[in-house]
C-alpha cells in the first residue's frame, strides 16, 4: 500500500507536465508475443489487446506478472522506443519571396516505460521529443511550434484487487482445506473467476496524464493514418516572407474528434484549431478516469474528468471537463464482432474567445487566474479588447465492426459552446459537427490498404469577421497503403521483437476553393514510417 501511495503521488506530480500509445515491443518482449497478438494492425488493438489494456497491461484474467529479475530485463521488458514521421510536401501557398522547404522531415520519437508493477497497479509513461503545436506569436502570426515532455503518464489501478476483493492468491492458503479430490481448488477465486455474471472487470482507475479515449470504439491515438500537423507560411517576424504567418492547411487529424470551432483559444491563450483533438478525444490530458465492465463484460462504462486545454497548472482548477462513456460490445466471433459507444462530455471554461467590446474591459475579480499575456489581434483584424470563457458540451456516437481481415470504424460528434458574448450575436456559430469513417482491409499478411473519410461543419467565427474567412464545411478523403515490413513475428528475419511499417498516403481535399485553410490546400501525398524496438 505504501508503494502504491508513493506511486499515486508520483503520478499526480506528472499531471503537471505538458501531452499517443501505440504498439509497445516492450510488451511483446515481456510476454514473448508478436504484435498480432494484441493488434489487428498496429497501432489498432484487437479484442484481446483491448482486454490486455483494460487489465493493466496483463493478459486478461491474470493477476500476477513477475517483475523483471535484473535491471537489464527491466530495460528490455518495460522500455520501448518509437520513431515515426511522414515525408510530405508543404503546400505551395507557402511559397513567397523565399521558397519554403520542399519536404517536412520526420522528427517524432517517443520513449515508453510501461507494464504491471504489482497485482493491482500498472504504470504507463511516454516521453516524446516533440509535439507539433500551432500558435499565434507576438506579431499575430500563425506559427508552428514544438513542445516535448511527458505525453501519457499515468498509473492504472485495479480497485477490487487493491482492496483484496478478488480473493485470488490471498485465498491460496486455504487450498489444503479442500479435501474433495473431484473439485480441487474450488475455493480459489481470481479475476477470471469473477469474469462472468453481473460483474465483468474492474473498476480500474487511471490517474495522471490519461488518455480517456482509448476505451472508445474508435480510439484517437490508434489511427493507421498519421496525424499531419498544420501547414503555416513562414512568420512575418522571421523576415523570410512578407506574406507570412498564414494558416495554409488545418492539421489532418480525424475531424470527428476535433475542436470544430474557428477563432477559439485554449486556456493559457493557445490557439485551438478546429481539427485538433480536444476534450474526451484529446490524446492525453491530466485527469482521473474510472472504467470497468459489467454484464459478462458486454458493457464497458467509463467516467472521469480531465483538465484538457488548461496548460497552466493553477488554471486547471478553473477548468473542469467531466465525461462519461458507455460502450456495448457485440459478437463473440471472428466472423463478426464490434462495439458501439456513446459519450457525453462537458467542458467548463475550456475555451476562450477574444473579441471587440465596449470599454471599459470587464473587471478583474480577485482570485481570477489571468492569462500570461493578451493575445495580439490576428493579422489585419483590428484590436481585441475583451475575452470570454466558453463552456462546451460534446455528445457523440462511435462504433466499429470487425470481420476477419475487415476493420470498419466511424464516429460522429456534435459540439455546442455556451456563454458566447451577446456582442458576437450573429457573428459566431455556436454549433459544430464532425464525422470520421474508416475501413481497413488486411490484404495479405503484411499489406493493409485503408480508406478514411472526414467531414466537418465547423462553428466559431463566421466569414470575414476574424481569423479564417470562408466556408465552414470540409470533406477530406484519405487513401493509404501500409506495409508491415516486420512486426515481431519472424525473428529469423529480424532477431529482436521490433516493428517497421511503411506507408504511402494520398489525402484529397473534396471541398477545394477559396483562400481559407479548409478550401485552399491542395491534395497531398505523404510517405510515412513507424519504427519501434
Amino acid at each position: 500500500m505504501v508503494v502504491v501511495r508513493v506511486l499515486v503521488g508520483l503520478s499526480l506530480l506528472l499531471v503537471g507536465f505538458p501531452r499517443d500509445a501505440r504498439a509497445l515491443p516492450a510488451f511483446a518482449r515481456r510476454f514473448n508475443l508478436a504484435c498480432g497478438a494484441c493488434h489487428s494492425a498496429v497501432p489498432r488493438l484487437n479484442a484481446f489487446g483491448e482486454a490486455f489494456h483494460e487489465n493493466g497491461f496483463k493478459p486478461p484474467g491474470t493477476m500476477e506478472v513477475p517483475l523483471p529479475a535484473t535491471w537489464q530485463d527491466a530495460v528490455k521488458e518495460t522500455m520501448a522506443v518509437w520513431t515515426r514521421g511522414e515525408f510530405y510536401e508543404h503546400s505551395d501557398f507557402g511559397s513567397g519571396p523565399t521558397p519554403r522547404q520542399g519536404f517536412a522531415v520526420p522528427e517524432h520519437a517517443s520513449v515508453y516505460v510501461a507494464g504491471p508493477l504489482t497485482t493491482s497497479t500498472s504504470v504507463f509513461l511516454e516521453l516524446e521529443n516533440t509535439v507539433h503545436e500551432t500558435d499565434i506569436n507576438k506579431h499575430g502570426d500563425f506559427v508552428n511550434s514544438d513542445t516535448g515532455g511527458a505525453q501519457k503518464a499515468f498509473l492504472m489501478i485495479d480497485l477490487p484487487m487493491l482492496f483484496g476483493l478478488h480473493g485470488g492468491h490471498s485465498m491460496a492458503h486455504m487450498d489444503h482445506m479442500n479435501m474433495d479430490p473431484d473439485h480441487p481448488m474450488d475455493m480459489e477465486m481470481g479475476m477470471a473467476t469473477m469474469g462472468d455474471g453481473l460483474v465483468g472487470h474492474g473498476p480500474m482507475v487511471m490517474i495522471g496524464r490519461v488518455d480517456p479515449s482509448t476505451n472508445f470504439s474508435y480510439a484517437v491515438d490508434r489511427q493507421l493514418f498519421h496525424d499531419v500537423p498544420a501547414d503555416t507560411s513562414e512568420a512575418v517576424g522571421s523576415g523570410k516572407t512578407a506574406a507570412g504567418g498564414m494558416l495554409l492547411r488545418m492539421p489532418l487529424q480525424p475531424y470527428a474528434f476535433g475542436a470544430k470551432f474557428f477563432g477559439i483559444f485554449k486556456r493559457g491563450d493557445h490557439t485551438l484549431l478546429p481539427t485538433e483533438p480536444a476534450l474526451y478525444h484529446t490524446e492525453a490530458a491530466p485527469g482521473v478516469d474510472f472504467h470497468g465492465r459489467l454484464f459478462a463484460s458486454k458493457l464497458l462504462y467509463q467516467f472521469g474528468f480531465t483538465t484538457d486545454a488548461a496548460p497552466e497548472f493553477l488554471d486547471r482548477f478553473h477548468t473542469f471537463v467531466p465525461y462519461t462513456m458507455l460502450r456495448y460490445d457485440f459478437g463473440d466471433q471472428d466472423g463478426l464482432n464490434g462495439s458501439v459507444s456513446v459519450l457525453g462530455n462537458y467542458g467548463r471554461n475550456v475555451y476562450k474567445v477574444f473579441y471587440l467590446a465596449p470599454t471599459p474591459l470587464p473587471p478583474i475579480l480577485p482570485g481570477t487566474v489571468q492569462p500570461r499575456h493578451t493575445p495580439p489581434p490576428p493579422p489585419g483584424r483590428g484590436f481585441v479588447n475583451a475575452v470570454q470563457d466558453l463552456d462546451v458540451w460534446r455528445e457523440g456516437i462511435g462504433g466499429n465492426l470487425r470481420r476477419g481481415p475487415w476493420d470498419m470504424y466511424a464516429a460522429y460528434m456534435y459540439d455546442q459552446v455556451f456563454d458566447v458574448p451577446d456582442r458576437l450575436a450573429g457573428r459566431f456559430e455556436r454549433r459544430g459537427q464532425g464525422l470520421t469513417a474508416e475501413v481497413d482491409y488486411r490484404l495479405t499478411h503484411s499489406l493493409v490498404p485503408s480508406l478514411r473519410y472526414d467531414w466537418m461543419k465547423a462553428g466559431g467565427f463566421k466569414s470575414d469577421v476574424i481569423f479564417e474567412p470562408g466556408p465552414r464545411q470540409s470533406q477530406v478523403l484519405h487513401m493509404q497503403m501500409r506495409w508491415y515490413v516486420f512486426e515481431g513475428d519472424n525473428l529469423a528475419k529480424v532477431p529482436v521483437p521490433a516493428l517497421l511499417a511503411l506507408s504511402v498516403r494520398d489525402s484529397v481535399n473534396l471541398t477545394p476553393g477559396g483562400s481559407e485553410p479548409f478550401g485552399a490546400w491542395r491534395n497531398g501525398v505523404f510517405l510515412g514510417f513507424d519504427l519501434a524496438f
Binding site: 473467476t193 469474469g195 460483474v199 459478437g331
Partner: protein
C-alpha cells in the same frame, strides 16, 4: 467503508450467482482468441497470425499439437495445463497469472468442447533420462538428422528453410513454417531436452511434423538428434 462493504457484497452475490466457474474463467481469459464455442474463432483470432498458421486452436476438432501422448491421441490434463502456463511463443501469452485453480478450470472448460475427452484415457509416453548431450552426441545427431530427412523441412542448417518448407500446410490449409533451430525460445513445445524428446516422439498433430517414435526407435539416436538440434542455437 460502507461503499467498500457494499461493493464486496455485490461481488459475493455475483460470485454465488456464477453458475459455472470453469466457463467464466474460459470466457474471461481464453475466448478472445479461441471463441466462446471453442472453435478458434474468437474476435481476435484472425489477427493473431492473419493468413498463416498457427491460428488459435479449434478445440472442437480434438486435434492438439502439444501433447505427451502418442500421435492421434488426446492430450492429458497436464499437457493442456502446461500450454496454459507456458503459453506459445509469439502467439499465446503465459496464463500463469491465473490462480492455480483457474488454470485447471480453464482446462476443464476447453475439454468440454470435444466430447471425446469424456471417454478418453490418454497415456503419456515415457521419456527416458537424458544422457550427456555433448559435442560427440551432436556429431552423431547430425547423421540422424540427415537420415531422418529433417532437412527437407528444417533445412540443412536447421533454419526452417528446407526445400519443402514453402509448400507446407497445416490441417486447415494454412501455410506453416518449420521451426528455425537457431531460436529455441520460440519452440512451441518447449526447448528443454525432455520437451524436444516429447515433440519428436509424439509429433505435432495437425501439422506436417510427424511422430518419429517408430522411424527412430532407438532412444539413444533421439537424444543424439536432440543434442544436434540444440547445438544449432544461435550464440
Amino acid at each position: 467503508m460502507r461503499a467498500v462493504a457494499a461493493l464486496m457484497l455485490v461481488l459475493m452475490v455475483t460470485r454465488l450467482a456464477a453458475a459455472d466457474q470453469a466457463t467464466a474463467v474460459y470466457n474471461h481469459a481464453c475466448s478472445w482468441c479461441h471463441g466462446k464455442d471453442g472453435r478458434g474463432d474468437g474476435p481476435a483470432a484472425f489477427s493473431i497470425n492473419k493468413y498463416r498458421s498457427p491460428r488459435p486452436r479449434d478445440f472442437t476438432r480434438g486435434r492438439f499439437k502439444l501433447r505427451s501422448t502418442p500421435s492421434g491421441q488426446l492430450p492429458t490434463d497436464d499437457d493442456l495445463l502446461r500450454t496454459v502456463e507456458r503459453g506459445i511463443p509469439r502467439y499465446m501469452p503465459s496464463f500463469k497469472g491465473l490462480t492455480a485453480g483457474e488454470r485447471r478450470q480453464a482446462v476443464e472448460a476447453l475439454k468440454r468442447f470435444f466430447p471425446g475427452f469424456e471417454s478418453a484415457h490418454p497415456t503419456p509416453v515415457t521419456i527416458p533420462e537424458a544422457p550427456a548431450l555433448d559435442a560427440d552426441a551432436a556429431v552423431r545427431g547430425r547423421r540422424v538428422y540427415e537420415d531422418a530427412g529433417c532437412a527437407a523441412c528444417h533445412g540443412d542448417r536447421g533454419r526452417g528453410d528446407g526445400g519443402s518448407a514453402a509448400a507446407l500446410r497445416d490441417d486447415v490449409g494454412l501455410p506453416i513454417r518449420p521451426a528455425d533451430f537457431r531460436f529455441p525460445r520460440l519452440f512451441k513445445g518447449g526447448s528443454e531436452p525432455a520437451d524436444l524428446y516429447r515433440t519428436l516422439v509424439t509429433g505435432m498433430d495437425g501439422t506436417p511434423m510427424p511422430s518419429y517414435a517408430s522411424a527412430i526407435d532407438d532412444p539413444r539416436a533421439l537424444w543424439d538428434l536432440i543434442a544436434y538440434v540444440r547445438s544449432l542455437k544461435r550464440r
